[in-house]
């Protein structure tokens, strides 16, 4: 491929640089956006087309042990959605959990060039790195699950906040993660140790440790702040999916005490009503808090009608869902680190709770005052496949389409929301924010999500279409690192993306504290645990910004 490229006459949406639909040219050289290129540069005439930075998925589950369990679990799904190879790309299978190659290619065919795997138990991170290496086109990183970590709990119980921070940094470095992930904090010990129990309150004492989920969350947010991780703790709150969980969600956001925190798939945490009764929408309370608190970013975790798969480190949640409809169910306990549940699921228009969730997600989007902080996701595959993003974009951009959709769903649920009254339509600029510029800013990716000089040349070019679903479903061109990967809707070449990771600084003495714990309670040797750099392949260290 030529190393120089000029994209001319496209209508550019680059919100990070305040460019809102201006017709302008873009120059690309050696994988980056530059000021100018030589006359011999190859050209794309984007006249009449929409040009945006490559999209970024801030929260999805695409690689690693739980994803592979989900993949293995669904042969019936794969056979209905085969992914044939082409002269330049590998074959695979699709369905709700596509094979790794199909995952990368399918993200690319929607204009996505970066995707972050949101939940990885550290002991399995090697597996994640291997799968990510087989996930083509997109750049990728992952969040390491530390929120139920037995050693870190021990340090918190002993009140050793300094060592706690050092140990977090050791873990992020050892497995090459991007940031830390907390999932249903405190629940693992109850799930594994107290016959499948669950945490119900952020101020409940966690068995054996004499600390509360609230304290754990607060401590992580503080440590991540001090370490200056590019993305703050990525938090899956307690009580996911339970009626009335908004109080838990609000308490968790308050624990940030004004520091940065990312609330994952907030729709699942926006239920009003009373525990064990039918939920109602609590979207208003949640979005009001987020609108007023600039330290909080969130991804919505929209549910889409149709096939989904619950895939979560929140094992008690998966168990609850298993008991709603007894079908195949996977549980996987990871020593000292995590729990996990995986099961097939489907969201149905006729079911009250499913419809309510669908509507709540849209309420959150449509009542958000700051698109930079309320970002697009379906928590793939939990709320539905990432392949639903174009449809979701149409729901946000087209109020007539939304009204039509409202006709065919559970009306009792609709009545518990304000969705029918919301007339807002997202603009292309706002879509560019919630799918590109916003996630890049929340992730601290300075070279992504925009098209200014120096940015990675990850570019999507769409043929303008009134039907936004069709438009976002099939970009005309996708350019990754300056290479035209998709040309006229077809793959022109294969491409390998890179791993994004952070390396917070720390005092290496902490390793001598961690090692004896490993010898007692892990089943692998401490010296075999940290992952060598060979596993990183193409990679980029995203800088941290430590506070002294």
């Amino acid at each position: 491929m030529p190393s120089e490229l000029k994209i001319v006459n496209g209508r550019v949406y680059d919100p990070a640089n305040d460019i809102d639909g201006t017709v302008k040219d873009l120059c690309v050289k050696d994988g980056k956006i530059v000021d100018s290129v030589s006359k011999s540069a190859s050209r794309i005439n984007a006249h009449g087309m929409v040009v945006m930075p490559g999209a970024i998925d801030i929260h999805c589950h695409i690689a690693g042990p739980k994803v592979n369990l989900g993949r293995k679990l669904m042969p019936e799904d794969h056979r209905l959605d085969v992914h044939p190879k082409t002269a330049v790309t590998r074959s695979g299978t699709g369905g709700i959990i596509p094979s790794t190659f199909a995952t990368g290619y399918r993200y690319a065919t929607m204009g996505y060039t970066t995707a972050m795997e949101a939940a990885v138990p550290p002991i399995t991170a090697r597996h994640v790195l291997e799968e990510l290496d087989d996930t083509p086109v997109v750049d990728k990183g992952f969040y390491v699950l530390l929120g139920n970590n037995a050693f870190l709990y021990k340090l918190l119980k002993e009140g050793r906040k300094k060592e706690f921070k050092e140990a977090i940094a050791w873990w992020v470095n050892s497995v090459h993660a991007y940031t830390v992930k907390l999932v249903n904090t405190g629940s693992d010990e109850l799930w594994k140790g107290r016959k499948n129990a669950n945490i119900t309150d952020v101020n409940e004492r966690i068995d054996h440790y004499d600390i509360t989920p609230s304290f754990v969350t607060e401590s992580f947010i503080e440590a991540a702040h001090e370490l200056g991780l590019p993305h703050p703790p990525h938090i899956h709150c307690n009580n996911l999916g339970h009626s009335g969980n908004i109080s838990t969600t609000l308490d968790t956001m308050k624990a940030a005490q004004g520091r940065r925190a990312h609330m994952a798939h907030i729709q699942f945490h926006s239920f009003g009503g009373e525990m064990n009764k039918n939920p109602v929408s609590g979207a208003r309370e949640i979005i009001d808090y987020i609108n007023d608190h600039e330290n909080i970013t969130t991804d919505v975790g929209q549910v889409m009608f149709g096939k989904a798969m619950a895939m979560t480190a929140d094992a008690p949640l998966a168990w609850m869902l298993r008991n709603v409809k007894i079908d195949k169910w996977v549980n996987a306990d990871t020593e000292c680190e995590s729990g996990c549940g995986v099961l097939p699921f489907s969201y149905q228009e006729s079911i009250y709770t499913h419809t309510l969730q669908w509507a709540m997600g849209l309420e959150l989007f449509l009542m958000s005052k700051d698109p930079w902080r309320v970002l697009l996701s379906t928590d793939h595959p939990n709320g539905g496949s990432f392949m639903n993003y174009p449809k979701l974009i149409r729901l946000l951009m087209d109020s007539a389409y939304r009204r039509e959709a409202l006709q065919h769903i559970n009306q009792k649920a609709v009545a518990k929301t304000v969705l029918p009254e919301l007339e807002r339509e997202y603009t292309l600029n706002e879509i560019a924010i919630i799918t590109r510029a916003g996630p890049a800013r929340a992730l601290g990716l300075k070279n992504k999500g925009h098209l200014g000089v120096g940015a990675d040349a990850d570019i999507t070019i769409y043929t303008e279409d009134e039907d936004r679903e069709q438009m976002f479903n099939a970009p005309r061109y996708v350019i990754k690192d300056g290479t035209i990967v998709i040309k006229d809707h077809e793959f022109a070449t294969d491409h390998k993306g890179k791993l994004l990771h952070s390396k917070p600084g720390y005092n290496e003495d902490i390793a001598t504290e961690i090692e004896p714990f490993f010898e007692d309670y892990y089943s692998v040797k401490f010296s075999n645990y940290a992952i060598s750099e060979d596993y990183l392949h193409e990679h980029e260290e995203v800088p941290t910004n430590p506070k002294s």
């Binding site: 042990p65 994803v67 592979n68 369990l69 993949r71 293995k72 679990l73 669904m74 042969p75 794969h78 056979r79 085969v82 992914h83 044939p84 190879k85 082409t86 002269a87 590998r90 074959s91 695979g92 299978t93 369905g95 959990i97 596509p98 094979s99 790794t100 190659f101 002991i123 399995t124 090697r126 597996h127 291997e130 087989d134 037995a150 799930w191 594994k192 140790g193 016959k195 499948n196 168990w319 195949k328 169910w329 996977v330 549980n331 996987a332 306990d333 990871t334 020593e335 000292c336 099961l343 007692d520 309670y521 892990y522 089943s523 692998v524 040797k525 010296s527 075999n528 992952i531 060598s532």
Partner: protein
């Protein structure tokens, strides 16, 4: 019991700490190897079990050609060229084995088969393939072995003899070790063994249940019924060999334990019932979660068979028995599993990596293997290498090469090689073949979707 050959006094000694044994699915990563670098052999393997010691001591550097084509010595390039030519010329090429090489090599093997529209299958199809199929049907409640060490107070082995097949399973992971909530080790656990006969594993058990051969499913189904408070046949003892009293006692123990685990061996998957047996044991463990915390786990055999399952799954969506004839993966055990493909006489070329089907497949399958061009990669001479058109002698994973191996509980571990080998690695040979195959098929000859 094998003993290390008495080493001549050597000063060129290297100690490798925390090395990993890849002999069985336990993948113990706490070996301390003493390596005589002059003699190119491991002279001591501290903490290794009897099988591990044999593995480490017997893998020395043998004086044999890297490549044989039709029994004649050839260069590596000639071997790679011939292997690629065989694969590209074939209409129905197959690859089989893969469970005794690292994931890095497995990934290349799948790519080759994807490129030439071939068939890929691993030794899973003749060991825990039925458990993989049962998993697809009912799922699995499972755990890493460290969790079992830390928490399991009821440990049940069904259809296996770990004392002989996985000697350190008891001592390192599931029976004797002390754990976070099992401070006294074995004293804090109840161990149950279910098998058709007494074995060297039996003495470990607090309770031994002798099931009539071929009646595992009936016994498991009765346990499921009892757990759910349903009636079972009054003739259960006559049917299964286990009395009602023993069953009731086990059910109470299972429902009332704190953290239970059911380990299953090939006594379940390769006898009457196969995936029904595995499905029954998975379902029993899942059902028990309505009362307590319960997990189940197949005790996998080969060192990296679990890695093979993972690699083939993430690249194709299916764990074994995958066919690319149409330009995309299809899965059908019985149709695309190697012994079937061979027995029906369908494959017209085979690449066998790190396994020896010619010694243990059904006669009809072996007869067909003898008729078609075979490419083999192995560290030792085997029945399969002897009938191969192209034989590559390769370095031993975990002894001469690094790479990634997945323990039976899906925990990935990196290998620490002990000494260098002049033989190429599986990965290097496969990479060489891949490169040549892609080159031969470049341009108009590319095999795209049918």
């Amino acid at each position: 019991m094998p003993e290390a050959a008495k080493p001549k006094e050597s000063k060129n000694i290297r100690i490798v700490k925390d090395a990993t044994c890849t002999f069985c699915g336990c993948v113990c990563d706490d070996m301390e190897l003493t390596v005589d670098l002059d003699a190119h052999r491991i002279t001591k393997a501290k903490r290794a079990c009897v099988l591990g010691r044999a593995w480490f001591y017997e893998h020395t550097l043998e004086d044999r050609p890297v490549v044989l084509i039709d029994g004649k010595e050839a260069t590596l390039d000639e071997g790679l060229d011939e292997a690629a030519r065989i694969l590209v010329d074939a209409k129905f090429p197959i690859t089989y084995g893969l469970s005794d090489c690292p994931c890095e090599a497995q990934r290349v093997a799948v790519d080759i088969m994807d490129t030439i529209n071939g068939n890929i299958d691993t030794t899973t199809s003749v060991c825990h393939g039925p458990s993989g199929m049962a998993f697809q049907g009912v799922g699995e409640s499972t755990a890493t072995l460290g969790e079992i060490k830390n928490r399991a107070d009821l440990v049940i082995y069904w259809g296996g003899n770990p004392a002989e097949s996985h000697p350190r399973h008891f001592t390192r992971y599931a029976v004797t070790p002390k754990g976070m909530f099992i401070p006294n080790g074995k004293k804090d656990r109840t161990v149950v063994l279910v098998d058709v006969r007494k074995t060297p594993s039996t003495p470990v058990a607090d309770i031994f249940m002798r099931v009539k051969p071929g009646k595992d499913f009936e016994l498991l189904w009765a346990l499921r019924a009892l757990v759910k408070g349903k009636k079972i046949s009054e003739n259960i003892e006559e049917q299964t060999g286990v009395s009602r009293e023993v069953l009731d006692d086990l059910v109470e123990r299972m429902k009332n334990c704190q953290y239970g685990v059911l380990f299953m061996g090939m006594g379940l998957t390769m006898t009457r019932g196969r995936h029904f047996n595995s499905g029954a044991i998975y379902s029993l463990a899942s059902d028990l979660n309505e009362f307590t915390h319960f997990v189940a786990k197949p005790v996998r055999g080969h060192g990296n068979v679990t890695g093979a399952d993972n690699v083939v799954s993430w690249q194709t969506g299916y764990p074994f028995g995958v066919n690319f004839n149409r330009g995309y993966p299809r899965f059908n055990p019985g149709e695309f599993t190697t012994s079937d493909v061979l027995a029906r006489g369908e494959a017209d070329a085979a690449m066998i990596v790190a396994s020896d089907p010619a010694s243990n497949f059904p006669k009809k399958a072996i007869e067909h293997l003898e008729k078609i061009p075979v490419i083999s990669m192995d560290v030792k001479e085997t029945h399969t290498t002897r009938l191969s058109r192209v034989r590559f002698a390769v370095a031993t994973y975990g002894i001469n090469t690094g790479g990634t191996v997945y323990r039976m509980d899906d925990v990935p571990i990196s290998l620490r090689p002990a000494f260098d080998s002049p033989f190429p690695t599986d990965q290097e040979v496969l990479e060489g073949i891949r490169q040549r195959v892609k080159k031969m098929l470049s341009g108009s000859k590319a095999r795209v979707a049918a």
